[in-house]
Symmetry: D2
Amino acid sequence: PPCAASAGMDDGFLMEVCVDSVESAVNAERGGAGRIELCAGLVEGGTTPSMGLLQVVKQCVRVPVFVMIRPRGGDFLYSDREVEVMKADIRLAKLHGADGLVFGALTEDGRIDTELCTALLAVCRPLPVTFHRAFDMVHDPQVALETLISLGFERVLTSGCDSSALEGLSLIKKLAEQAKGRIVVVPGGGITERNLQRILEGSSASEFHCSARSARDSGMKFRNPNVAMGASFSAPEYSVKVADVAKVRTLNAIAKNIL
Amino acid sequence: PPCAASAGMDDGFLMEVCVDSVESAVNAERGGAGRIELCAGLVEGGTTPSMGLLQVVKQCVRVPVFVMIRPRGGDFLYSDREVEVMKADIRLAKLHGADGLVFGALTEDGRIDTELCTALLAVCRPLPVTFHRAFDMVHDPQVALETLISLGFERVLTSGCDSSALEGLSLIKKLAEQAKGRIVVVPGGGITERNLQRILEGSSASEFHCSARSARDSGMKFRNPNVAMGASFSAPEYSVKVADVAKVRTLNAIAKNIL
Amino acid sequence: PPCAASAGMDDGFLMEVCVDSVESAVNAERGGAGRIELCAGLVEGGTTPSMGLLQVVKQCVRVPVFVMIRPRGGDFLYSDREVEVMKADIRLAKLHGADGLVFGALTEDGRIDTELCTALLAVCRPLPVTFHRAFDMVHDPQVALETLISLGFERVLTSGCDSSALEGLSLIKKLAEQAKGRIVVVPGGGITERNLQRILEGSSASEFHCSARSARDSGMKFRNPNVAMGASFSAPEYSVKVADVAKVRTLNAIAKNIL
Amino acid sequence: PPCAASAGMDDGFLMEVCVDSVESAVNAERGGAGRIELCAGLVEGGTTPSMGLLQVVKQCVRVPVFVMIRPRGGDFLYSDREVEVMKADIRLAKLHGADGLVFGALTEDGRIDTELCTALLAVCRPLPVTFHRAFDMVHDPQVALETLISLGFERVLTSGCDSSALEGLSLIKKLAEQAKGRIVVVPGGGITERNLQRILEGSSASEFHCSARSARDSGMKFRNPNVAMGASFSAPEYSVKVADVAKVRTLNAIAKNIL
């Protein structure tokens, strides 16, 4: 079967790799990812990808592709117009082969926006839905987890409300224990070959989320150092970050030994 | 007529505002923009927007909406897979109401990639197409301009191969003179209320491109300072940049006085 | 006695706070720091402070002040002229009351530069000297540690050759065990109230290094948003980072409970 | 005479190069700079350099060296303790051979802090003093200029209260006309080989300020990509920016042709 090599649940764990290019998606699958989270703009933490990217990625990989629905970087407090954009993008993503969706929505006081989540979940169904790492921005994570469970989210991505999954490990563990299988708590945020073992052992998680990227120099031989397309420190024009097959494989192997 | 207030060609000039949200698109039109360039991720200089964003923007504004086709930040040297994504996105953008398209493609030695441009233009037609500010990364701008004209691009966006339109003003003027109306040379890059007059007077341009944004604080009352979604300096979680009606109006008024 | 409240070795542990202002130095002492590491430019990871800063800090705090000797940001491969600057700064720092010094020097292949360290140590003596977190850039940390011991450094600051002390914790522990008291291995890099306990328990360290800062808005009422003094994303003009008494106290209390 | 090659007032104009290393200072003089502005931390816009740096620079160059007195990045509203540091640094800089000083001080409402300037000027005398580009942060530049003249500053560095000297050129010209030789208005901020001619012609300035740097790759062969010393986007560990003799020469030649 095509996915035999991938880190499916047969091995007892599942590696999700977030990607923002076809190349990264292909590398992720090749390295053993069991699921793709498809985004644009990882420099901003991931936003809604183009449907052209979804179409081509679906032609190139066989593992499930979950599509990020986030209309912009920044916070998770959305205007009515942004909600309209999100609903339209969910419908289009389903139409173009999404296997699942990922979004987050908060109220201004740091709670899960249940009303908006209910409305968006209705558009997403019957596909599985992951609550975004927006979760790390909530006021009370234990309460928020119960809200997500009652809303019916299949998964929640979290770094334990801290700057990385390793930093927030004790909260991730608490959340996983609290969840008791009612929702899959997926650790993510700064996972590397050097900390994955500790994160899996410390959280008892059966799934994890990473980007496994390395920087690659641009192929351009002629370069104009005087021009930048975006904000000066954010995105070097002549360097591309791509998911790295070797990194994905290493992470996969580490997880296999533990789980 | 709905567009009466906009900076259409009736006034002798046209202001294009690049936006990455519905709010910015609406503000741009309200402030007098004659055309919208629709993007995602302006922090990276603009990438392909989601089709949901295009759908909702088309419902909210009446001025023409040109859609950015750029599958990622960084350089303009594309792999075959990226080209497939770009073609798919062009088709989808046309399907969802795009009034024009914007892309750029270079060879590794800094020339216009004529083969790829020809292929992409074929998918774009009959819509008008603007060559992206990728132009500022070419080795020989005068030669590149002739290439774009022979390929049939309607417009080229440029900051004169320098860090901003003001910095590159003398080259912009030269290019406009060389073009002799065969292609519209659109100055863009760092245009503000303070430099627009000089740029218009110095380039004799009849169209210009700007974002006219100001930063707005997030509406979130509860904030977690320990967590960032993306790269640390690139995109503050609690600040949103939006096109500003007043700024758009001011730029519009300055241009009216000159052109 | 004035230092009674400070986290001296009487409590079995010592907290070092790196500061780049008098206010931070005073706050650090007030919060219980047992030692100050005095720097300029913490945004670059700390460089040689001005002697005026050292003079005033020495008038305001009673805990020992160790002075950073690092002539610029970036790597730790120094030219002959930079070495002359470092030697001159060591002499001046001793003259103006430094209680210890901090520097790092590597060879291009990632080893400790023994020749240069020997020469600089000679200028520093009889003061105690800490080897800088440049240590995290070495090729073989175990070999490098033996080199530092044989050179006679009193301390080495390290995040375990990883992005933070928590990430590099297992290596920090290994190094501390290898050191067997021949040099003090001081964990530092990203230490917060949320991870200090784990770092101390996981490393068995008796000293640790942190900045304990929080951002404070500028006191300026009139602001010019169009001007930035430095690189655009690096140092917001209207926000100042200062060591926070409360943070220092919390870290101090956590350490006291463990050590 | 040693300064024969430098861009002294004999040629009718003077190029000041801001540097933060001995290498840059030497390169600046070699390229024809008539004066050095000595700083640390140019990534933050320049802060007070170490006295060791001043000592060595004074041994290596013959052109006048003006010393930056700025105790930190950020705004120009100083606490009493910061003022003590500044005074101490001024005294030390004079002691170690400074040929002039550079500082700026504002009130919270964006006026020149006359009381503090008077006090600091008293410590600086008899050396010449330049008011820092803090000037670009004032509320009313015309009023502020008169204040500086009445206080007795010899020079003021300005980008015309805009993001670069080219952007603020019309205000620079106005200020120079208003000054009528009572103070030297020195344009600075983003000056390049490509815009110097316009800035000199547009401002009628007889002095200008630039850094003329290019990035140089680190000499380190072994590199640890997992560790950064400072804030992630601010200061690449393996790249050094240094004043470039060729750039300094080119700027010098451009100025000579005009002035």
